[in-house]
């Protein structure tokens, strides 16, 4: 709390990025964990909460007549534009946030103070939800070829590996330790995925310290052990996910890649994925495109291409597909590495696993996949953290209904076996993921969600099923009682209760308005989106002023989809005049 110089500022304006004319007036609060903006207005208390650690950058812009603008960019791609009346307040907020957004100790992180009111047992259960040993068992391991090794107990061999790793049975501790000494950060080859249908596997490691000519017998034996663990495979692929030039450059630093002459029966392959620095710049450039104010189609496509983002996505997909094919179709094991083996290697191994195994396409399986390829093979937090924080997986699992795809069916052909996505660019398409990168600009997204609609239908179906059971039971009882000529009054009470249930579900299905109000994230009705302005309207906002106040008042009586655009307050002003210059005639409309 000592970092908060200013806990509360009033008369702050929150700007809408899509429309500079629209701003919400409210109060800004700084708490120990969140920045909170509360809109003024008696009816709906609209709040915007941002976790401090969610903040990616804070930018204080030049003071204007209306106040001092503060731009907060978040890691989840939300961009918050505030205007604070007093420069001094703005500065205090700025300084406070800079400190709050950059914790210096783990203990400052929100997860240490977050308390979902679970008892100790529940918390421990939460941490046990995803169990990697269970996952390897699911793959069929340990077996004749693979075993669990405790060579890395107490992180003695490699401090960024898990304590329990799966390695070929024939790889002795001597071989593992020897190999680890020949690999960057001692990240020796370990099992990521095993295909029990054909014994082919995906292993991962970091680059070898081969330099220009160095060799390591144990490392060569390690790769041979991986090959032998797949009796059907005559060779293994070694996939270096770096661009060839980068790998060659690494040799000068005593690192590099496997020489095919030194390792028996390997096929070496480069698949050029750029490094994190290139990726970070690319993301930055793409986000700049996302932030453009009313870009033209060309601006957008050109900017998207120039960012290279989709090229990177495609490179990762290509690598994943190559590996999945090698495993599923050729039955050949693959060793994947990049430099340290924790960025590109994690990307590629997890994409390949996802394509290969339907389990990873379930909610639980996807959590397992991230735990397996990303968390466990990265830096491992001290186990003691589990005593003081809660597991994300347990939290997500509890709310899994929010993440279900209504069209998923475990008996569909696409749910079985290996996926073979089309990878020609036109098939892959330019699919800019606006749901992710423009997530907070709801005005850009489809106004009706098929997923939400179908989930509501499915939910209703379930209610109907239950009701059908009850009704059938009652019918049977009634028929029986009629036979017995027994008039039991108590049933009438029962009936009215049932009718109530039915009516509610019936109206749910037959009147669209009621239906959509039931869909919480239906854009047409969601309160959080109620004031979204339509972009088409924004284009013309400056030119067109409502000449008929009654009409704009009318629009508030309407419900549903139109709500999105109808609340734009249009002030006074008159129609643009041709006399005021030819430009005014086209300016705003043609700006698009």
């Amino acid at each position: 709390m000592e970092h908060i110089r200013m806990p509360k500022v009033e008369n702050v304006r929150l700007l809408d990025r899509l429309s500079s004319r629209k701003a919400a007036l409210g109060t800004l609060y700084l708490t120990a964990t969140h920045v909170i903006f509360v809109e003024n207005g008696s009816e709906t208390r609209k709040e915007t909460w941002v976790l401090h650690s969610q903040i990616s950058s804070i930018e204080k812009q030049a003071t204007t007549a209306t106040g001092c603008p503060l731009l907060i960019r978040c890691k989840n791609f939300q961009v918050i534009q505030l205007v604070i009346p007093q420069e001094r307040d703005c500065h205090d907020i700025y300084i406070s946030l800079i400190r709050l957004a950059r914790p210096v100790k783990y203990e400052e992180l929100y997860c240490f103070s977050f308390n979902p009111k679970l008892d100790k047992e529940e918390r421990e259960q939460g941490w046990k939800l995803i169990d990697l040993n269970e996952e390897y068992n699911r793959m069929g391991i340990p077996n004749n070829y693979w075993q669990i090794s405790d060579v890395n107990r107490d992180y003695g061999v490699c401090d960024s590996y898990p304590t329990e790793v799966y390695v070929p049975k024939s790889a002795t501790a001597h071989i593992i330790v020897g190999s680890s000494k020949f690999r960057s950060r001692r990240r020796f080859p370990a099992l990521s995925y095993f295909c029990k249908d054909n014994n082919a596997s995906i292993c991962r490691s970091s680059q070898p310290l081969s330099g220009f000519s160095a060799r390591c017998l144990e490392d060569e034996q390690m790769l041979q052990a991986i090959r032998k663990a797949n009796p059907g495979g005559d060779f293994i692929y070694v996939v270096d996910t770096r661009p060839k030039l980068n790998a060659i450059a690494n040799r000068a630093a005593g690192k590099g890649y496997e020489n095919e002459d030194n390792y028996s029966n390997i096929k070496f392959q480069f698949i050029g994925i750029e490094n994190i620095h290139v990726m970070r710049n690319s993301l930055q450039k793409m986000l700049e495109v996302c932030e453009l104010k009313s870009p033209s189609m060309s601006d957008f496509l050109w900017g998207l291409e120039n960012s290279g983002w989709l090229k990177h996505i495609k490179a990762i997909m290509d690598a994943g597909i190559f590996i999945a094919k090698a495993v599923a179709e050729e039955g050949v094991s693959v060793l994947v590495h990049c430099s340290d083996g924790w960025d590109r290697t994690a990307q590629v191994c997890s994409v390949a696993s996802l394509l290969l195994d339907p389990y990873y396409r379930t909610v639980k399986g996807f959590m397992v996949l991230i735990e397996k390829d990303w968390v466990s093979f990265g830096h491992k937090f001290n186990h003691r953290i589990q005593e003081r924080t809660y597991s994300l997986w347990a939290h997500l699992w509890k709310n899994r209904a929010d993440y279900l795809n209504p069209l998923y069916r475990s008996d569909h052909s696409q749910t079985q076996g290996t996926l073979h996505p089309q990878m020609a660019p036109c098939n892959f398409l330019y699919k800019f993921w606006s749901g992710m990168y423009n997530r907070f600009e709801k005005g850009l997204h489809p106004r009706q969600s098929v997923t939400d609609y179908l989930m509501a239908v499915k939910e209703e179906t379930q209610q109907l099923e239950e009701e059908l059971g009850i009704l059938q039971e009652r019918l049977a009882n009634l028929q029986k009682s009629q036979l017995d000529n027994d008039k039991d009054k108590s049933k009438q009470q029962d009936q009215s209760k049932q009718l109530g249930l039915f009516n509610s579900s019936n109206s749910l299905a037959n009147t669209p308005q009621e239906y959509s109000s039931d869909l919480k994230s239906f854009p047409s009705r969601s309160p959080s989106q109620g004031d979204e302005e339509d972009s088409a309207l924004i284009l013309t906002q400056d030119n067109l002023k409502s000449s008929d106040p009654d009409l704009s008042a009318n629009s508030d009586q309407e419900s549903g989809v139109e709500d999105l655009s109808c609340r734009s307050p249009s002030g006074g002003g008159c129609l643009p005049s041709e006399d005021s210059g030819k430009d005014s005639d086209e300016a705003v409309f043609l700006a698009v």
């Binding site: 189609m297 060309s298 020609a424 423009n438 098929v450 179906t461 059938q472």
Partner: protein
């Protein structure tokens, strides 16, 4: 193997597998042959063909179709190959409309309703009369004597007589005087369309034109003229006798210029886009720059924006609108028809959309025969070729994608219309206007597309399972992030659809099962209620 059905000019190419696993045979089907129903499914219409190569005695013909499909035929025997190639060449470039397939097509289905009589102007006017009496049906163009590209009857302001209309027609390009396109029931505002006024360089004016346009305004109200050309283009048009409405002569109107491209610019855009989509090389960068260079999505954005603007003027600003470009047969119709889809829930039903296509495209005189002659594989020298209607359908698809529950029809319906606009067994899209259609006696000599579509077995394919009637105005987003390439048309032949179909099937099943359960529960409830009433008595 090549088989000929004998007799004169064949119009269909038919590939047929005689037996399962057997080699397919190629047929060139004659006009006069009776075509069994099963075989009909495979017919296709060529846009262009190439002989690719000869290897030994095996010849290869590549047929590029108007629906963007590319078919490769390997034909044993040099002579047969050349024969087929020249036959296809001749058949795909028929110079007389009356030799086209619709004149020989015999329907294999029972005709429940004659589509030629499904959407008559009188019915449309009857609907209008029930809400306003300010308009009248004019038969001034009965013999197509006033405006060759207008239908025989048009809706005009009641206060303007035919004599005045004749004078207005003289003042408008191609005699396309302002007529009613849409009446917005909510506030009584209207959308009209016309062609450009013939003001020329010396600022000619026409009192009757001014009177007609003003007659559509309520007292004290203002209106907007949406000119689909940039101000620059509109100004240049004056040199050729065209022009735009001067503010001084139309003081109650504000002019807004939008820039929607026309003719060869659109055609080149389509050609480039289809080239990009057919490029199977694996380079992401080239794909994006090709997509960008095609400008297709830019055109989509421009057209949609103009339509949103028109709809906004009517619904939000409470102003009437007049839309025109140069001839009033292309961009004008894109804007007026899309604005109606945004504003009017009726246009989002199957029947309503068909009616919209009839009113705003066929009767309004969009020259389908000129615009939809060759499609994307044309050699680019077709002066009048332009994918104006395809752009309109693409825009509808964009709105459908943003409001997936607000349309009674699905994507397949739009794709079907695209196909039939370019090549069809039905006469609906033949000719350039009602005048030509009447001269060709299409209603007597050909079958209407609507006769075929509006049967329950066909309609089923085009229904959107997610449809929930939405009586509201729907405002699409025109931001680049919200617009996408229409894969259903442009990647239709390049992508496997099995998994998408499977997902679609699942969606239908979820909704079907829900409805069945509802019916069951309803029936049980009634039964129980009856039994319990009996019980009490």
């Amino acid at each position: 193997m090549l088989r000929s059905c004998g007799c004169c000019t064949p119009t269909l190419i038919l590939l047929k597998k005689e037996k399962l696993g057997g080699k397919p045979s190629l047929y060139l089907i004659s006009n006069h042959c009776r075509i069994p129903r099963m075989e009909l499914k495979k017919w296709t219409t060529t846009s262009k063909y190439q002989i690719k190569r000869f290897v030994g005695s095996l010849g290869t013909i590549i047929i590029k179709c108007k629906d963007l499909r590319i078919i490769q035929l390997d034909i044993p025997g040099m002579e047969e190959c050349l024969n087929i190639a020249s036959s296809i060449e001749a058949l795909s470039t028929l110079d007389s409309v009356t030799l086209m397939y619709p004149f020989f097509y015999r329907p294999m289905f029972e005709i429940v309703e004659d589509g030629w009589r499904s959407f008559l102007p009188d019915q449309e006017f009857e609907l209008l009369s029930s809400v306003t009496d300010e308009w009248r049906l004019s038969c001034i163009n009965k013999e197509f004597s006033v405006c060759p590209s207008y239908p025989p009857v048009v809706i005009v302001p009641k206060s303007v007589d035919d004599e005045a209309l004749r004078k207005v027609a003289m003042f408008r390009h191609g005699s396309r005087f302002p007529v009613l396109s849409y009446y917005h029931k909510k506030n009584g505002m209207v959308m009209m369309r016309s062609s450009q006024p013939l003001t020329g360089t010396n600022g000619r004016r026409c009192k009757e034109d001014e009177k007609l346009i003003n007659a559509t305004l309520r007292p004290g109200k203002r209106g907007y003229i949406i000119d689909t050309r940039s101000l620059n283009v509109a100004q240049q048009a004056r040199a050729k006798g065209g022009g735009f409405e001067q503010e001084v002569h139309y003081p109650q109107w504000r002019r807004i210029h939008k820039c929607i491209e026309r003719f060869n610019i659109l055609q080149e855009s389509l050609i480039k886009l289809v080239e990009a989509c057919n490029d199977q090389s694996h380079n992401m960068d080239r794909w994006l720059s090709k997509l960008e260079a095609s400008n297709w999505l830019t055109h989509i954005k421009e057209i949609l924006t103009a339509a949103c603007l028109a709809a906004q003027c009517i619904d939000r600003e409470g102003a009437s609108v007049l839309v025109h470009g140069t001839e009033g047969t292309d961009s004008t119709l894109q804007v007026t028809s899309l604005a109606q889809i945004i504003l009017d829930p009726r246009c989002r039903t199957i029947r309503g959309f068909e009616s919209l296509v009839v009113r705003e495209w066929l009767q309004a005189g969009h020259p389908f025969q000129q615009r939809c002659a060759q499609s994307a594989y044309s050699n680019g020298k077709q002066k009048w070729e332009a994918p104006v209607f395809l752009l309109f359908l693409d825009c509808v698809w964009q709105i459908l994608r943003q409001f997936p529950c607000s349309f009674e029809f699905n994507e397949q319906f739009l794709i079907m219309l695209f196909e039939h606009a370019y090549a069809s067994q039905f006469g609906t899209f033949l000719g350039n206007n009602e005048n030509e259609r009447s001269k060709l006696k299409l209603p007597q000599k050909t079958m209407s597309l609507w006769s075929w579509v509006n049967r329950s077995e066909e309609l089923r394919k085009f229904q959107n399972p997610l449809f929930e009637a939405n009586s509201l105005v729907i405002w699409p987003s025109v931001a680049p992030q919200s617009l996408q390439l229409w894969e259903g048309v442009f990647l239709r032949w390049n992508r496997p659809s099995k998994f998408l179909d499977e997902a679609h099937e699942e969606m239908i099943n979820i909704i079907k099962y829900n409805k069945e359960l509802q019916a069951k529960v309803n029936a049980l409830r009634r039964q129980l209620a009856e039994m319990e009433t009996d019980d009490k008595m």
